[in-house]
Amino acid sequence: MSTDLEQFYEIFFEESSELLADMETCLLRLDVNSPDLEDLNAIFRAAHSIKGGAGTFGFTDMTEMTHMLETLLDKLRKGELEVRSEMVDAFLRAGDIIKGQLAGHRGEGQADPAAAAAVCEELKRLSDETQVSAKENLVSNAKSELMPIEQEVGEIAEMATSSPAEVASGLTYCIEFSSAGINSAAMENLFANLQQLGRLEKVVSTDEKEFCKFKLTTSKSEEDIWETLAFVVDPAKLKIELDLPVRSEINASEAQTLISNVTATASSVGEAESAAANISSEPGYGFFPGAPAAPKNLDGSDLTENSLQPKSIDNGKNDDQAVSNKSSKKASAAAPASEASSIRVSIEKVDQMINLVGELVITQAMLAQTASQFDPVVFEKLHSGMNQLERNTRDLQESVMSIRMMPISFVFSRYPRVVRDLAAKLNKRVELKTVGENTELDKGLIEKIADPLTHLVRNSLDHGIEIPEKRVAAGKSAQGTITLRAFHQGGSIIIEVSDDGAGLNRGKILAKAKERGLPVHDGMTDQEVWLLIFEAGFSTAETVTDVSGRGVGMDVVKRNIQGMGGRIDIESALGVGTRISIRLPLTLAILDGLSVAVGDQMFIVPLNYIVESLQPTAADIKTVSGHGRVVQVRGEYLPVIALHEIFNLHPNVTAVHEGILVILEAEGYKAALFVDDLIGQHQVVIKSLESNYRRVQGVSGATIMGDGKVALILDTAALVMASQQEAV
């Protein structure tokens, strides 16, 4: 039995992780002052799902924790308790604990039972506080209690646009139905159920038991009431209306006058309405839209009532529908893509598919080459078929490649929490803005970018954003802003971390660099100075905190980004802010390259490192101390890297001026790569050499060319750096 369950463990773990992430997002979105019931419900659902799964698999620690969460959430949901920020904190901590427990069950690390117990205790305390704090709230916050009422009336005035779910304090519904054919026991049961939902008030209790009308004040939505009733009552004979004192015809000024006696109005209007309904409903026909026409012997007033009644039902229905549509739309906008349908596929399968498509593209290229030798007139059909094949293969390749692409929101979504926690720790007020969350990039990059980005965000928060007093003194708003922005530019994705903080201090950085003995001088450009902060062990922070200031990290960030084939730029203005932008290739799997030939071998040079290609004259080539060659390009002397010397190849040309020089730039250094010939520009699929072989000096990977041959991709940065070391 246990072995049967084990195969579902992985699914449970993944689902739980997702649910936890959703829960966290909802928690962070939750506005303590006006909690959205929909969010609370979502959190509750997540906790409940985890509890269910954990229970099935016998993870009792998780069950306990989620149960505590549920208890408190349920009270919040029912409006028995007001949401407070300490609760949100507790929820977040509980989420962390569950994450830890999950990892523990997964066999990755150990859950901390003591911490779990502590959080459990806190949740328990918070939920037990219910009655006390509710009373306290009633007494002490009498003033603030007035606010929701005012708000309510305001909303009512706005054509009852407020959704029933939004007002947590509860609404009064007017429920009418025909009780014909329902036995008394069922009726009693129904009323008991309704009483559980909220305060029940019978308006009409006719002796004939033919017709029931009552009012229910509850925090539940109309659907809940409907569901409760639908078990017993024929839905066609059921009518639930929001018992609002005012309808669309009322205007704001009238609403204002109503504020003082809102409750009185509500009840009186309700009574009036019910009385009117009573009159009309006495014959009992008004509630059967499909019933035969009203008897002719009825007087005129009854007729008008009858003809009006269905109309008002319709209006009410439409209103409610519009409202519920609106609220659901709002919810879907607030939680984008959470409901997007997707399937879980292992990454190996995707990679295998990408490989196969790559093969298909190569085969297609081969066929195309062969077909091009046939007479296009005689083999017209073959040629049109080949064209179609080419188009289809390209489309297929594109769509398969897009499988690996994921929106960057997967990374961005973790930062609200990071910022929230850190800001609280540092006593700063920070708002995090994210722009362009839907920008897509390769899944492999998504995973790798998370750590460097976290570091940059933390750094911005710690060093960039000043404490509120300082900000106010500098004439800025007390709340700082950190903006995460992602967008496509050309074949790259650019991710920016910007803050409106203090900016980098040029003097301070230069002084620190001199102190550390780095080769700096006052004439350096700002750009060069800013890049100093990426030096290992460099920090201008006056005090070392546990957040940052040890000078470890920025150099790691730089190294990681470079490892991904990206680069990093800083813009900063003192007192205005700093913007760090990371430029990454869209995918790790595809690279734009220039193919070059040396002897009988072909190599790929990544295009983003190439500045230009030129054929030098013999006079441009100079030697330094007999061997090292340099080439003069527009006044600059660049070291010449002869590829055949590095790779021990037999080139077709040995004299530099007979071949081609490809000017490369990497990490601020330039060098000229000497090759026999340029062949062409390709988009190549990067294949790892290391998966079956080992790392090769000067080569970053391999690719398969159109003819099925393997070409090596040059590690341009390493080549350029090596040439620099030789030159120094």
């Binding site: 071998q601 590095i646 021990n648 998966s691 079956n692 072989y693 090769v696 000096q697 391999a702 090596l712």
Partner: protein, 170 residues
């Protein structure tokens, strides 16, 4: 290789040899010698075609080829063991192996057949000086008058002197 030597070592095969041996072997020739490798390590057999050289690699590593989208290094065993002439024609055979979770190819003079060996046909390796470290020889097999050198191909390919796999994590 002196034939008598294999007869000297006619001691009952020890359990350590027999227990982990697969029964079926793919036999191939290198020069005048016949070798056998476990059939389960063999992925496929193909011809020798266009190869991309790898700079500064040892001589026996001929380079890499494209095997249906994966980059596979090719090792010429004749150069590695200094047996036979390392020339390449349409009869040159590459055995694609799947060892230690990696795919790699070895160039041999020719593939003979697949044979089954019972435990009684396998002899322990006698100690003798050889170009191959006896560490990588599982034993010697006898089939009629033929002698097979049974290679522990996985151990050989993942050894440091092949330089195929980076030994240190760095």
């Amino acid at each position: 290789m002196p034939h008598e030597q294999s007869k000297i070592g006619t001691i009952a095969p020890s359990n350590s040899i027999t227990s982990h041996l697969a029964n079926e072997f793919l036999t191939f020739r290198l020069g005048e010698e016949e070798y056998g490798i476990e059939i389960l390590k063999v992925q496929e057999i193909r011809g020798y075609d266009s190869i991309t050289h790898i700079a500064n690699a040892p001589e026996f590593i001929k380079g890499v080829v494209n095997l249906r989208g994966i980059i596979v290094p090719i090792i010429d065993m004749r150069i590695k063991f200094r047996l036979g002439n390392a020339d390449y024609d349409q009869f040159t055979v590459v055995i694609i192996l799947n060892v230690a979770g990696r795919v790699m190819g070895i160039v041999v003079d020719g593939v003979s057949d697949v044979i089954s060996l019972g435990t009684d046909q396998m002899r322990p390796t006698p100690g003798f000086g050889s170009v191959i470290d006896t560490e990588y020889i599982m034993g010697l097999g006898t089939v009629d008058e033929r002698m097979l050198i049974l290679i522990d191909i996985e151990k050989l390919m993942s050894s440091s002197d092949m330089g195929l796999i980076e030994q240190s994590i760095n």
